[in-house]
């Protein structure tokens, strides 16, 4: 390798880095504010969907918690200054992925709605947990009835055919643990307030 080669290789790399860097910087400057805004918007929409009755600015973050060492949040939903329920984000260990779940409960701690924000379960089997027919099964369930059964049941949660592990993850590892946490966290806050 001659000095000329070394010079040319250096020049090559410099030009590519500079041109590429400028291009990426330009695209990033254009897109990142939009990405940030849309992320925020989508999150607000997802929360609003969980609690359609709540005021526009009535969903307030209460704090963070860490199911499976992942960052999750929980919220309180208010209407005209009165608490109408809570929303909890949680993670559950599914068959082939961590399932990111959002669910809302009323003040009686019965589940109102659940939504799967992200999952990568087996296509055709486990990913049916994201379909409305399964999510509807959670409506009105309390702690004692968040349990998976394999036969048709109105009282408990009926598992998706061929996807017991995913169903159990959402129900027991996800929603039930999230609800248990919420109740505990709210008690702690009450004690603090009384003091």
């Amino acid at each position: 390798m001659t000095a000329k080669d070394i010079f040319k290789i250096t020049a090559n790399l410099v030009v590519i880095y500079v041109v590429g860097g400028l291009l990426l910087a330009f695209v990033y400057a254009k897109t990142s504010p939009i990405i940030f805004l849309k992320n925020k918007q989508e999150k607000e929409e997802a929360l609003q969907k969980m609690m359609p009755n709540a005021d526009k600015k009535g969903i307030i973050k209460l704090g963070d918690w860490y199911p499976h060492d992942k960052d999750a949040e929980y919220f309180v939903a208010k209407k005209d200054g009165k608490i109408i329920g809570y929303i909890v984000q949680t993670f559950a260990k599914g068959y082939s992925s961590y399932i990111n779940i959002l669910f809302s409960v009323g003040t009686d701690f019965r589940v109102k709605k659940i939504d799967i924000l992200h999952s990568a379960e087996t296509p055709g089997l486990g990913d049916e947990i994201t379909l409305p027919y399964f999510k509807k099964r959670f409506r009105g369930k309390d702690l004692a009835h968040l349990k998976v059964v394999k036969k048709p049941s109105k009282e408990y949660i009926e598992a998706v055919t061929g996807a017991t592990i995913s169903s159990r993850a959402v129900t027991e590892d996800g929603v039930r643990k999230g609800l248990e946490f919420l109740i505990k966290a709210l008690k702690k806050r009450e004690v603090k307030h009384e003091q």
Partner: protein, 212 residues
């Protein structure tokens, strides 16, 4: 542009779609052809992303082809590819949210697709900018069509739906939606194209041996 050029451009596109189809003829980049083809929508979206990256990478490489030192050409190609992939990733995240949610995970993996590096090394680094552009267009289209074709069969057979809409209320052959079914679908389709190639065009089948 002269008449002769136009014909050769059209031939370059056709070449990318049929004679040198990335998946069915050259048999490279089989990973995405199995990973993202469990629904037509995913297959199509990734195909479009690859089409764009392939065309831009080919054009960029052809522009710089005389300037790039042969000793470091592969790292330079990789830098160009990753640059364009990052552009696609950011633009999709900003303007195509729904699509990004479905295949966002796979966009960044385009960097490692053998097909893109192969076209840059085999064609773009040796040809004029205009030709390289049409070659990228052609092989990108070939890749897109292959993905759509594979996912068409997989979604129809495995889920009984197309583009998310139910065609039949049943899952005729669930295995086709699972990874194992991906291998089956790619294998069967490749066999079918090999058969056409050998029966009607006197070729030797896939794997680069079908020199007409």
């Amino acid at each position: 542009m002269s008449n002769e050029d136009r014909i050769s451009n059209w031939q370059l596109i056709k070449n990318g779609i049929f004679k040198e189809n990335t998946i069915f003829r050259l048999v490279i980049s089989l990973c995405p052809s199995i990973a993202v083809t469990n629904s037509v929508k995913n297959g199509f979206l990734l195909g479009v992303a690859v089409l764009f990256v392939q065309t831009m990478v080919n054009t960029t490489v052809a522009i710089f082809r005389k300037f790039i030192h042969p000793k470091i050409r592969i790292p330079i190609f990789m830098l160009i590819i990753s640059g364009w992939v990052t552009v696609v990733d950011m633009v999709m995240a900003a303007y195509a949210r729904a699509a990004y949610k479905e295949i966002g995970l796979y966009i960044q993996i385009i960097v490692a697709f053998a097909s893109i590096l192969a076209r840059a090394e085999m064609f773009a680094s040796k040809n004029r900018v205009c030709n390289a552009f049409f070659d990228g267009l052609g092989s990108g289209l070939g890749f897109l069509l292959a993905l759509v074709l594979i996912s068409f069969f997989r979604e129809l057979l495995g889920r009984g739906s197309l583009w998310g809409f139910h065609i039949v209320q049943a899952k005729p052959m669930l295995i086709f939606i699972l990874p194992a079914g991906g291998f089956l679908a790619v294998g069967l389709l490749m066999a079918f194209f090999n058969w056409i190639d050998m029966r009607f065009y006197g070729g030797k089948g896939a794997g680069g041996a079908s020199g007409h």
